[in-house]
């Protein structure tokens, strides 16, 4: 009977969402599990200390306070940044479909740009002049066909991709807070994007300076915002190849621009072509391949639509039923090792229900003792042993 489906979070809800996602050891996946199990971010915040204690945390979990979250909201207002929750109408539709979508995104600029289908264009920072020319040309031509160009504001190819689509609309995905553009030389470009109908977007807190580890995480959003990802120039073992792999895993089409085998800056893009990426020499190659996909209606996964925006409390009895006893907890812990183990295997091995195993894993994750991997696997963190 709790089928209330607000289109927007209330201010109180948004504050609770921000507190929860900004708390230690809470990521998109555990955020979703918590809201789903406890019925609201508020209820999850209350449950957090108990969960991490049972998970065996060695020190208390840092839970973001009301005043800290209010400070970030104030900062956002000052910078013209809004927080959009998954399920709200302005949330980028394609992004809802990835495995672990951020529950809240910070956006500066126009959200209209998310309504048009996205194409990511990424590549080397030390790109050749030819590569930069091609990236700019592709961005302009694909943009004029009604697509939003998504990239990462980096030097080289990314800069050219944004520059070529400033007029038609482009999205820059940040690895840090939206008040911390990187690199500095692209601050004017970032401002131009937000002012000319495009958008800056990030899942990281305002004030957060991006570290190396934040870029692969950011790259999953670049791929997630796009139907296809075009790699223009990329050396072997480069960040653009990580983006391409993430795009492939998310079911996005991967495109690459060919280059001479003697040019190391094309080693990665030629490698993608060998592995089956679609070869691109002009915008039409991309547009033709995406045409069959773009028509489809993009919907958030059903479970999010039902749960995410509902703030009704789930009966405590239900939650309790999912909690195994201490013996069950030990069995789950014993089945884990530093080598990633499939969760289904843990269920079989412990003879607990899937819900019970997931509950224990959530506690362990919040306690910072396990790491989640793609393909439904988890491993014990060495520091957590």
């Amino acid at each position: 009977m709790t089928t209330v489906k607000p289109r927007r979070l209330s201010d109180r809800q948004r504050l609770a969402w921000l507190r929860l996602i900004r708390s230690d050891n809470v990521g998109p996946s555990s955020f979703r599990q918590l809201v789903s199990r406890f019925g609201s971010a508020d209820a999850a915040l209350e449950a957090l200390p108990g969960l991490t204690r049972r998970g065996g945390a060695t020190r208390p979990l840092k839970i973001t306070s009301v005043s800290e979250a209010e400070r970030e909201l104030e900062l956002a207002e000052r910078f013209g940044v809004q927080f959009i929750a998954i399920g709200e109408s302005d949330y980028p539709p394609l992004l809802q479909q990835i495995d672990h979508p951020p529950p809240l995104v910070a956006v500066k600029g126009s959200t209209d740009v998310f309504k048009r289908p996205g194409v990511a264009i990424v590549g080397a920072r030390n790109a050749s002049l030819a590569g930069i020319k091609i990236a700019r040309m592709l961005a302009t031509d694909i943009g004029r066909q009604g697509f939003t160009i998504v990239s990462g504001l980096a030097r080289g190819i990314d800069t050219a991709a944004h520059g070529g689509s400033l007029e038609t609309g482009t999205v820059a995905v940040f690895a840090g807070g939206l008040d911390k553009p990187y690199p500095n030389e692209n601050i004017p470009l970032a401002n131009a994007i937000a002012e000319q109908g495009g958008a800056l977007i990030s899942e990281m807190p305002l004030g957060w300076s991006p570290r190396a580890i934040d870029f692969p995480r950011r790259n999953r959003l670049i791929a997630g915002l796009s139907y296809g990802l075009v790699v223009v120039e990329a050396a072997q073992r480069s960040g653009s190849l990580i983006s391409a792999r993430l795009a492939g895993e998310q079911g996005r089409l991967v495109f690459a621009v060919p280059g001479s085998p003697l040019d190391q800056r094309s080693g990665g893009s030629n490698g993608l072509l060998k592995d089956g990426a679609t070869l691109v020499t002009e915008a039409d190659d991309v547009i033709r391949a995406l045409a069959p996909l773009v028509g489809e209606q993009v919907q958030p996964p059903r479970s999010w639509r039902k749960e995410a925006l509902s703030d009704a409390a789930v009966a405590a009895i239900e939650v309790d039923a999912e909690q195994p006893d201490d013996d069950g907890r030990s069995r789950v812990l014993e089945s884990l090792s530093p080598v990633p183990t499939d969760i289904d295997e843990i269920v079989r091995h412990t003879q607990l229900s899937t819900a019970q195993v997931q509950f224990v894993l959530l506690e362990l994750q919040l306690a910072g003792r396990i790491e989640r991997h793609s393909g439904n696997a988890v491993s014990l963190l060495e520091s957590g042993v």
Copy 2:
């Protein structure tokens, strides 16, 4: 009972073969039909005047005389060139498998080079330095893996391909006579190929200076001598693309080296990649793809093995049985038009046997009134109406 299968043509047979293939309007396809129907090249030469008359030739067919053929044989001996007939043990095995293999090839150098699997490397005459470097590198590396490198002696990529494989063995396919290397600047290269264990090969008469029209015909031999064809640099609408198309039609693998979309010299090769050619950045890409093919035993088509080297006369009565009356001839002629028509359709339409229709078409072809097309089709030549 006439199952004599000589391994080599007699001198008398070789002279007759040379006369027949050098006669007007006789190509590989009609040569084979004639020898097959009349039992020997000698018998076919005798039948030629009658066939062309019935085919409606407006002037007598030029039949190469004994002395003309002897002159070419003498010229060949002086230049160290031998004529090898299809079915003889030195004839390039792969070449026997193409649709219309030349019945006689002129070869200078070592025929051992045909015993090893061939890989063609072709491309632009006005190649970039990078393209030349890549062609040379591929030729050297693929050659060292036991392959013969086949190319066309042209400037640019072809020259680099031969140069890179001089030591391991390379084959240059000429569009004109073997005494007419083209271009002149590559005469030293041609000599080096023949002297260092490679071979020069052509189906054209000694003394023949190549015309533009001869190159596509030559390109079918380059593809025919090779398991796969690698296009290194090729502009759109270039000869290398014709070679690639012919290679594909003959069931050979097509490879292409990628290049920048801004470099017009890579327009054709990138286009091949879009159409499904295998992308090549190093020799292993070619060798790995060819590995499953190279093991197989290469055999000439069964019919050639049975017929080509048999000089026994076929009973005249059999030949007569295939000759339709004049009414049948008219019906075949009426069913033809300048638009290519499928031969099976002509058979249905005229209600003649396939053998009878083929016989009339042979007469018309020898009379220079029809043209054969790929896919078993023929069309009336406008000058022949």
